[in-house]
């Protein structure tokens, strides 16, 4: 089946500002900080985009901003027109989120059937007398049994609970799913089952998927494009195979080299780029290029002043990728 590619999500210049946390010590309140700063992103139907970056880089905040769970301070989020209005409920019909922790995200005192029926009822997705049948269908689609509808979440393993959370997310047939670390809490053998399920659902429903993860290998397998975040900004976006073979940002290159690889053979040959120091806090984002305090290319090039003084924009390159580095061509050759 051929599908026309149309944008499902367009994010432009999106920023999210949080009030400073009450920091320990004597200071009462830290200054407000930008958890997201000028994010541009598009997603088309049927496309899986992987969002990677280290802890605190803003991945979850971006996901929550898109579904309307955190207020934005600048920029626009445009979700595909059609079904549903611009309010919260309308937005929910277009985009649904699956969270990392399958233990926390299901109501412990609701049966699985009640949990799955809820969105169907609220959104009047099917006639009331068809809800039971639809719940059974959903359970079967995610690899569970219709009689599981009568059970409570504590009867299920982590992998099974994640299947239930996925069933709930697809119940009202959204055009897009945001999956926030959906397999991080699961074991490898079960993780692959869930990843394959998500991949199948995306294909058969032509859904867009924003897949948030810190695991590059998982993202590489599941997504056609990958966006890399650092300190609340996107530093590189490219097709998955391009980005993993020839990164155009030194941070992406460092992440790739830090992925522990199976097979002793090549592990001994490969020398990882070990970045010095820690990820700076949002309260003290370095001037110029925010990555320059840890950048190996900056060091290698003799610390050019440009990197300290100016912030490299997320620029479009001829091969269809975007990178926020002044020297994208020198990354892969290093």
């Amino acid at each position: 089946m051929m599908h026309v590619r149309r944008p499902v999500l367009e994010v432009q210049g999106l920023s999210v500002t949080f009030p400073g946390e009450a920091a320990g010590g004597f200071r009462k309140r830290a200054a407000p900080f930008k958890a997201l700063d000028g994010i541009d992103l598009t997603l088309t139907n049927g496309e899986a985009l992987g969002l990677i970056g280290e802890s605190g880089s803003g991945k979850t905040t971006l996901g929550k901003a898109i579904v309307g769970l955190v207020p934005t301070s600048a920029g626009t989020i445009t979700l595909e027109a059609g079904g549903g209005g611009a309010d919260r409920r309308g937005r929910a019909r277009k985009v649904q989120m699956v969270f990392q922790d399958p233990y926390a995200s299901l109501h412990p005192r609701q049966t699985i059937g009640q949990t799955l029926a809820e969105p169907l009822r609220i959104h009047k997705a099917v006639p009331v007398d068809a809800i039971e049948h639809k719940v059974a269908q959903l359970l079967e689609r995610v690899g569970l049994m219709p009689h599981h509808a009568l059970r409570y979440p504590q009867h299920f393993s982590g992998g099974q609970r994640q299947r239930i959370a996925i069933a709930r997310a697809i119940a009202i047939e959204p055009s897009m799913i945001i999956a926030d670390e959906p397999v991080s809490a699961l074991d490898v053998s079960v993780q692959a089952q869930i990843l394959n399920l998500l991949d199948d659902l995306r294909r058969e429903r032509n859904m867009a998927m924003l897949f948030i993860s810190h695991d590059l290998s998982v993202v590489r397998h599941l997504c056609q494009r990958i966006a890399v975040m650092y300190l609340g900004r996107i530093v590189e976006v490219a097709p998955a195979n391009v980005l993993t073979r020839r990164p155009a940002h030194p941070y992406t290159a460092a992440l790739l080299s830090a992925v522990p690889r199976v097979h002793a053979g090549n592990a001994s040959v490969r020398k990882p780029i070990v970045l010095a120091g820690d990820i700076p806090s949002h309260a003290a984002i370095p001037s110029g290029c925010p990555f320059h305090t840890r950048c190996w290319l900056y060091d290698k090039k003799g610390k050019p002043a440009q990197c300290r003084n100016a912030r490299p924009p997320l620029a479009q390159h001829d091969d269809g990728r975007q990178s926020a580095c002044f020297f994208p061509k020198e990354v892969a050759s290093a």
Binding site: N196, P260, V274, L275, G277
Partner: protein, 329 residues
């Protein structure tokens, strides 16, 4: 003499009438300067096995049988005094979550000094000097300033460095690291793994590395033991186990593991999930999930059989039989 020799270590959990075998006949050996990786999924008994090795099961509901010899001395059911003399000095341990192991209201320096003096009667100055030296060794920036900081003023990676510093103050011969990088970011994980490698080399220290991450194991370990439902299913040199896995479970794990360099998009999951430890299926515990299951598999627990080399063992009835092995691959 081997530094560590574990033979048929078995840990049982007794709660009221119920009893479960958490670790079932684990055997391994480890020499100075080497790294052994203990890999297995959540609940497979890795942490329990490590606690049993270091003699930390306590007097609760868990009890150990079998043998753990450290430099020739038996540790299973050894006197508490013998164990205390080893713990923290000759054998040290680090855990996944450094935050819960640190006291939030005491500065780092005081905590290390206290820990040092718990193991050896030393003047405060002497202990402080040891603490500084250890912080330097783990690559902490500005150690004297770090001594005055509190845990919440450190990043996750720095906290793990503090835990490692505490562990290596007395230059232990064996370091047990239980998921030391699981809570850390990729680039910080790379730093900590590089540090562990360097310390192992510099101090000629053996490392028993516990992880569920095959990539980390592949990067770090000289030898591997794979646990499934509390039982060792395969053991051998890292390259042998990962390049020619002999047990269907090991092969299944490798097939389910997404690789950054591999372009095949489809992963091959293992159907089902591991059994609860108090209700293992009869015979081979992997049988309900195994694609090669034979009628005899469920009759008794298979014994370890040598594969391509005498040190590469798999606990599967197909192991060692070249014809059936070829069919499995």
């Amino acid at each position: 003499m081997r530094l560590l020799e574990v033979n048929d270590l078995t840990v049982t959990l007794n709660v009221g009438e119920r009893s479960a075998t958490i670790v079932d006949r684990l055997s391994l050996t480890l020499d100075r300067g080497r790294c052994l990786g203990l890999v297995g999924e959540s609940g497979s008994g890795k942490s329990t096995a490590a606690m049993a090795v270091i003699g930390l099961l306590g007097h609760g509901s868990l009890s150990a049988r079998g043998s753990v010899r450290f430099q020739g001395a038996e540790l299973v059911n050894a006197h508490a005094k013998t164990l205390r003399a080893l713990q923290g000095r000759e054998i040290a341990m680090i855990f996944q979550d450094p935050m819960s192991a640190l006291n939030p209201v005491q500065c780092i320096g005081d905590q290390i000094v206290e820990c040092v003096r718990a193991h050896e009667t030393l003047s405060k100055n002497k202990a402080q000097a040891l603490a500084l030296e250890a912080l330097k060794r783990v690559g902490m920036p500005d150690p004297p300033a770090m001594m005055r900081r509190y845990p919440h003023q450190l990043s996750g990676g720095q906290r793990q460095r503090v835990m490692i510093a505490m562990a290596i103050v007395f230059k232990p011969k064996l370091l047990i690291a239980d998921e030391p990088t699981t809570a850390l970011d990729l680039t910080i994980q790379a730093q900590i793994l590089a540090l562990l490698k360097q310390l192992s080399r510099d101090l000629d220290m053996a490392v028993l590395l516990i992880t569920h991450d095959l990539g980390v194991i592949s990067d770090m370990a000289d030898d591997i033991v794979v646990l499934y439902a509390g039982r060792p299913v395969e053991r051998g040199r890292t390259a042998d186990v990962l390049d020619h896995p002999g047990h269907p479970y090991t092969r299944g794990l490798l097939a389910a593991h997404p690789s950054i360099d591999d372009t095949t998009e489809r992963l091959t999951p293992i159907a089902g999930m591991p059994p609860p430890l108090w209700d293992r299926p009869p015979g081979c515990a992997f049988a309900p999930r195994c694609n090669h299951v034979q009628p005899t598999c469920t009759q008794r627990v298979p014994d370890p059989v040598a594969l391509d080399t005498p040190d590469h063992l798999a606990t599967c009835i197909l192991a060692g039989n070249t014809e059936t092995m070829a069919a499995v691959r």
